[in-house]
């Protein structure tokens, strides 16, 4: 039987709130009339009559109006997985060099949690590489990052006062990505996709790429790190792979041309539509929209990873020809994803766990990411995209000022990251650690603060973006988090 559009609209609201676990009701009331209309809403509202509202093919985001003026449209998160030593990269400690080989003063370590150095004599271990003052800003950066130092030092804000709550990789990653060590909370990228939707119409709103280096012990990365957790699985990060299908199952089966695949999708649409006329199920239209999107992805994804339209100078800038699964290739793909409107792009480089031979190994690992990261910033800047893209260069924790043989152990009391792009001051250093780089002594920044700042730059009040589950409202920042306003333009 047929129903008037008005009734259908009503029902769709109900379906929306049901199918997404109550998502639909979030924040609607409080945002109406505030005037900060979210452009994705404006863009889609004209076409979102029809059943698309039940499970819209292009998720418009639950936030209908920005809470604060947004400074960035998207995030590219370069994730140095394994625990990048702050002491050999962005946080030079002269005193540590002076005390090299001597016992670590107990005043620093007493009662503190320790990872693999449990029960061992703790000795100071000097910074393993020289640092240089670089750029007009005079940022102090290790010589193992020559490209970052020479090309983008004035564009980045170094944060030396990060600290975290987990001392081992798996929980620390989970905390860094979801704001909780308990499995099952949504990753930051899922939150953003859920909150703001995505401007990419034929690609997922949250894309993950992973590269693996040669100098560390390749700690595992769980797909939990890009899981949508309490949010519906449509907000899950989608991994773009360098081997096999770039997206799982994106290639039609053997013997099936795109034309014949189209025929199948068309036949599905015709049959579903016929049935829809009988049973009046708004989910059918929603499902057909997903098939269209899937079909588009069968071309858009290969197009994305096909670098033949990139100029030689661009390829030279990144130092890659693509297709090799390198961090640099992924950085170039990240730019291409950003151009296509993907909301959250996360690149893991899985090689920073330097328990031994930190001097050589961190130099090697740094060389694997240095050029790609610098190129990405420059490339975004020259295309006018850096101002609207927040780039995070981070890690899950730092490493001990104490030696573990000739390496360093995990360290959660202090580590360094840098930020660049939309809304971030360039050429500044924020926060400080003590003279041995053990603990934070100035402007401490928690993981929750980082998340709050990230959401803020994208126009979101981190206390407001919530999902009701398990009897309470959850948010990326749990019950914590402060925006680090000093970092903002």
């Amino acid at each position: 039987m047929r129903h008037a559009p008005q009734q259908n609209n009503l029902a769709r609201r109900a379906f929306l709130s049901q199918s997404a676990g109550g998502l639909g009701s979030v924040a609607l009331g409080s945002l109406l009339g505030s005037g900060l209309v979210h452009p994705a809403t404006a863009a889609t509202s004209g076409v979102s009559t029809g059943a698309a509202e039940a499970s819209p093919a292009i998720w418009p985001g639950v936030i209908k109006a920005y809470h604060v003026p947004p400074k960035a449209k998207r995030v590219i998160w370069l994730y140095m997985a394994g625990g990048m030593s702050h002491l050999d990269t962005f946080d030079y400690k002269q005193k540590l060099a002076e005390l090299n080989g001597q016992p670590m003063p107990e005043s620093f370590t007493r009662g503190q949690q320790i990872a693999q150095l449990q029960g061992q004599a703790l000795k100071c271990f000097a910074p393993q590489h020289a640092f240089n003052r670089v750029g007009q800003s005079g940022q102090n950066i290790s010589e193992i990052f020559p490209e970052i130092a020479s090309r983008i030092a004035d564009r980045i804000a170094i944060v030396r006062s990060m600290h975290t709550e987990a001392i081992n990789h798996d929980p620390a990653h989970t905390f860094m990505n979801t704001g909780s060590m308990i499995s099952g909370r949504p990753a930051a990228g899922s939150w953003l996709w859920y909150g703001l939707g995505s401007e990419a119409h034929d690609l997922p709103g949250f894309v993950v790429m992973v590269s693996t280096g040669k100098f560390g012990q390749s700690q595992p990365i769980a797909s939990r790190q890009w899981h949508s957790g309490l949010l519906a699985s449509r907000f899950q990060g989608v991994e773009f792979r360098s081997k096999g299908d770039p997206v799982l199952y994106v290639a039609p089966p053997a013997g099936t041309s795109l034309g014949r695949q189209r025929d199948v999708v068309d036949a599905v649409a015709r049959l579903d539509t016929m049935r829809g006329d009988v049973v009046n199920d708004p989910e059918i239209a929603a499902r057909l929209a997903q098939y269209e999107l899937a079909f588009k992805m069968q071309s858009s994804v290969p197009d994305l990873v096909d670098l033949s339209d990139e100029s030689q100078s661009t390829l030279d800038l990144y130092g890659t020809k693509g297709g090799d699964g390198s961090f640099a290739a992924n950085c170039l793909l990240a730019r291409r994803l950003a151009e296509r409107g993907v909301r959250f792009i996360q690149l893991y480089h899985r090689d920073w766990d330097h328990h031994g031979s930190v001097k050589d190994h961190i130099k090697g690992t740094a060389s694997e990411v240095d050029r790609g990261a610098a190129a990405l910033i420059e490339d975004l800047a020259r295309r006018g995209m850096l101002d609207e893209t927040l780039v995070v260069f981070g890690t899950e924790f730092g490493r001990t000022p104490m030696a573990q043989g000739n390496g360093r152990d995990h360290h959660m009391k202090a580590f360094s990251i840098w930020l660049a792009g939309g809304g971030i001051k360039g050429g500044v250093t924020y926060g400080a650690t003590d003279e041995l780089g053990y603990g934070v002594v100035e402007n401490p920044v928690t993981v929750h603060d980082l998340h709050a700042t990230l959401l803020h730059l994208l126009g979101i009040d981190h206390t407001t973006l919530t999902i009701r589950a398990q009897g309470r409202n959850f948010r990326l920042t749990d019950v914590h988090g402060h925006v680090i306003t000093d970092l903002l333009v």
Partner: protein, 884 residues
């Protein structure tokens, strides 16, 4: 205790019969906004405002959302020492000011505060980002005016059997009909028989029915045809499989440890135990007891010990640098979150760092609950990396055949060893012969002393038989043994058998096991901080505000000959199990009944399947939920009977079509005037494709299986690095239930259809709709191969022309007879692709070769490929994966 004041006020039963729904709603900007009583937002839009306000239904949700965080159960965060969750707290005289003055809103400070326009006075305060709607303020005012009566929370009240209202033949329908009558909403008509058969098959077995089963049901005109269909489905082993999927989500079953290296573990015997328990319709109290404490039962059987592996279902870590103490704390809270979620539908996990913000669970409750599991022997950090047997206490699980084999081998080994001690006849005979021969040989004049024989033996041999002393005989016996062919044969057999026994043992699953040991000390951890040893040491206890646990299990425990139950007077997991299903426990039967309802309607009577607390949702039909819960509790915890009760109601059998009236009045189907319609779960998506195509392997139980999976999907696992090896043969076509559950990298086809990672308890899966799902159904070789099997079957059985074949194919998958237009679409596709493939035979050959099953001979590749296109179409239809 204040909790008592709060939760013992009034019997729920009384108020429920009086009320029909009259919720206030307010329209803002064309959107209907919920004012009170979550749920029937549009339904009651035209209803007059509530006459009688009830705390539990109308007020608690408002307080819980807006006030309890600062004025609720958590003493640590309470502001101004004011609590609104108890009558005493709300009405206390505070230097002449009372938050609530019963019967007098204007004299109540609460009333003044919520209406204030002064930011420094108004409640809730602006910085809380909370605010009350006008309607909510009005409801609060009315509640105070009516006497500000507090009531207990529905889920915590004593469970009492309600009267079944008159009006229908089936008790469930009596409750549903009474509410529909009150709302003036007519019920949908019954679903047609095809839809009904498909629905009940999917709900009860997770598999769509075979067309012949549908035909039989349609042809059966006897009045109890449907009941017999239900009974047949309930008796099917596939019913047990379906229920197991549901249970495994709750208990977070996985085939890997979850943390860090996510190494594989053997847990599937537990999964098979669950299947067997459902197949045997094990009562829920026993089901509970064996899982929580099977190892502590007297003379615990292997099955009971397997069931107790529930207690080791937590994630585990072998990450270098982790500290035992930290991970002991993680595992303890993991168990509290899971066990309170599974059985109590409660979020006790919220009380790890502080008293619960909304429910009367204290932080102490969290740790006393954790203490029930303190005896479960385990490590904090395991050294299991690369060693799949290194996860603490393990248990070999032989099959019954292996048990017999093992016993036989052991018996023979014992015999052989006994031969060593005794002097069996065959050995005596051999010895006598040897002595005779050797004596004779030595007696020959030509023979000199034999260098192989010790002197004493030679001397004995040279003596006459009668002259040999016992010592001589002993020497001969001993020496003979060293050269005996008979003894050598025994020895060889013994070695062989012992090797076989080792091999037999090693071939048995070695599963993670629950073994009771000396209980760990459990402290209240301030702010959940495992490094802080300042907290009180606690022993096992159930949450203080709920009925007290009786030590009913103590006698069993004290007589237990095996295992080492916790010492002395401490409560054990047996006591916890007994408490869960004791008559006094108000939560467990409600939680279970609600979840069973959700299995049959796609949503619970209370839709928050994971939280029956203050932040949950009052049930749409409170009395029905009470009645169902009583049916369980007072009906020997018979789960199958409860399911049968629900699915034999008229409400269950209704059409899921949505009329304009229902769309307008009850879009969310809170009144169950119709059935629900939704996408089936991930496992069932796979099962539907495999079963309708005829590929499904209907084997029950056994080790988890590995279907095709894209190369490289496990690349980021490490310690050790792993490459995925897909199964071969029939194991490729097993039900989704058996798919290897790698918690960090669940099979992508399961993941995209919302199967949970099972790191935590999952009471309700989301149902999303994504392009990745379409990519799986279109391109995953498993589904392409299923399409090939369906095409083959169609070509073999579906007639010779395109229309007949198309009709056959649609009927097989959808269950219903397709209309001509549908048949036409499919036939047209097949014919067009027949032409297309005729011009591209190589493509056709590739198309028919997807998947491991042998390429069929005797069918033209082009024809098969064309019908694969048709089959792929049918296996991508919305209806194929929709339960109507």
């Amino acid at each position: 205790m204040s909790c008592e004041t709060s939760f013992s006020v009034r019997c729920l039963k009384k108020l429920l019969t009086i009320n029909v729904c009259r919720f206030c709603v307010q329209a803002i900007g064309g959107i209907v906004v919920l004012a009170a009583g979550d749920g029937l937002r549009t339904l009651s839009a035209a209803q007059p405002p509530a006459k009688t306000i009830h705390f539990d239904r109308d007020i608690r949700p408002i307080f819980s959302e807006n006030c309890f965080a600062c004025h609720g159960p958590d003493a640590g965060k309470r502001q101004a020492d004011l609590r609104l969750d108890t009558s005493t707290g709300a009405t206390a005289d505070r230097e002449g000011v009372r938050a609530v003055v019963a019967g007098n809103p204007q004299a109540s400070e609460l009333f003044t505060r919520i209406h204030s326009t002064d930011d420094s006075v108004v409640m809730p305060p602006p910085e809380s980002n909370k605010s009350l709607t006008t309607a909510q303020k009005k409801i609060l005012e009315q509640w105070i005016a009516q006497g500000a009566v507090y009531e207990g929370h529905w889920a915590y009240e004593t469970l009492e059997r309600p009267e079944v209202p008159a009006g229908a033949a089936h008790p469930v329908d009596c409750f549903i009909a009474a509410r529909l009558a009150a709302e003036g909403l007519p019920a949908e008509s019954a679903a047609d028989r095809v839809t009904l058969a498909r629905r009940v098959s999917i709900d009860l077995t997770g598999l769509p029915p075979e067309p012949v089963e549908i035909d039989a049901f349609i042809a059966d005109s006897s009045p109890d045809a449907y009941e017999r269909l239900v009974d047949r489905l309930l008796a099917s082993p596939h019913h047990a499989e379906r229920m197991t999927v549901w249970w495994l989500d709750l208990v977070r079953y996985g085939d890997s440890v979850g943390y860090h290296g996510d190494q594989e573990i053997t847990m599937w015997p537990y999964r098979d135990w669950v299947i067997n328990a459902f197949a045997a319709n094990m009562p829920f109290d026993r089901f509970t007891q064996e899982q929580l404490a099977g190892d502590l039962l007297p003379n615990a059987t292997q099955d009971q010990k397997i069931a107790a592996a529930y207690n080791r279902m937590n994630q585990m870590s072998a990450e270098g640098g982790g500290q035992d103490k930290e991970y002991h704390a993680k595992y303890a809270s993991d168990r509290v979150r899971a066990t309170s979620g599974v059985w109590l539908g409660s979020t006790l996990g919220c009380a790890e760092c502080h008293d619960h913000k909304f429910d009367p669970f204290t932080a102490r409750d969290f740790y006393t609950f954790a203490a029930f599991f303190a005896d479960v022997a385990e490590k904090g950090i395991y050294n299991g990396a690369g060693n799949f047997d290194g996860w603490g206490e393990m248990m070999r699980v032989p099959t019954p055949e292996q048990v017999v084999q093992q016993a036989e081998i052991k018996k023979r080994v014992a015999e052989l060893k006994a031969f060593g001690e005794s002097d069996p006849p065959e050995l005596i005979a051999e010895r006598e012969a040897w002595i005779a021969a050797e004596s004779a040989r030595l007696a020959l004049p030509a023979v000199a002393a034999s260098p192989q024989l010790p002197d004493s033996v030679q001397a004995a041999l040279l003596l006459a038989v009668d002259s040999r002393t016992d010592a001589h005989k002993q020497d001969l016996r001993k020496h003979h043994r060293t050269i005996s062919a008979v003894a050598k044969a025994w020895q060889a057999e013994l070695v062989k058998l012992e090797t076989a026994l080792t091999a037999l043992t090693n071939a048995q699953p070695n599963m993670v096991a629950t073994v009771s040991g000396a209980p760990r000390v459990v402290r209240v951890l301030p702010r959940g901080n495992w490094m802080d040893d300042s907290g009180e040491i606690v022993t096992a206890a159930t949450p203080a505000f709920l009925p007290v646990v009786q030590r009913v299990a103590s006698t069993e425990k004290e007589t237990a000959p095996s295992g080492s139950p916790p010492s002395g007077q401490q409560l054990s997991r047996l006591d916890l199990a007994a408490w869960m299903t004791s008559r006094e426990n108000p939560l467990v039967p409600r939680v279970l009944a609600n979840r069973f309802w959700a299995l049959c309607f796609g949503q619970g009577l209370s839709r928050r399947l994971d939280d029956h607390g203050a932040q949950g949702e009052s049930p749409s039909h409170p009395e029905l939920l009470e009645w169902l819960a009583c049916e369980l509790r007072d009906g020997d915890w018979n789960m199958r009977r409860l399911l049968r009760t629900i699915v034999t109601s008229e409400a269950y059998k209704r059409s899921s079509n949505v009329s304009a009236l229902h769309m307008e009045r009850d879009p969310e189907n809170r009144l169950f005037a119709r059935q629900s319609r939704y996408r089936i779960d991930a496992e069932m998506v796979r099962d539907a494709a495999l079963s309708t195509s005829g590929l499904l392997t209907r084997q029950i139980g056994g080790p988890s299986v590995k279907p095709y999976q894209p190369d490289g999907y496990w690349d980021y696992l490490n310690f050790p690095k792993r490459s995925y090896q897909a199964d071969v043969g029939s194991n490729l076509y097993r039900r989704g239930l058996y798919v290897h559950w790698q918690r960090q990298y669940l099979h992508p086809a399961m993941l995209v259809f919302d199967a949970p990672s099972r790191e935590e308890c999952t009471a309700r899966r989301p149902r999303s709709n994504t392009p990745l799902q379409a990519l799986v159904l279109l391109n995953d070789p498993e589904f392409v191969e299923a399409a090939r099997a369906l095409a083959e079957k169609t070509l073999a059985e579906g007639g010779s022309d395109s229309l007949a074949r198309s009709r056959f194919m649609l009927r097989r998958v959808l269950g219903r007879v397709p209309i001509d237009a549908e048949v036409g679409v499919l036939a047209d596709l097949a014919e067009r692709h027949l032409q297309a493939f005729a011009g591209d035979v190589e493509a056709a050959k590739k198309m028919i070769s997807v998947g491991a099953s042998p390429v069929p001979q005797g069918i033209l590749p082009t024809e098969l490929a064309a019908w694969i296109s048709a089959a792929r179409t049918v296996l991508n239809l919305h209806e194929t994966y929709t339960r109507n």
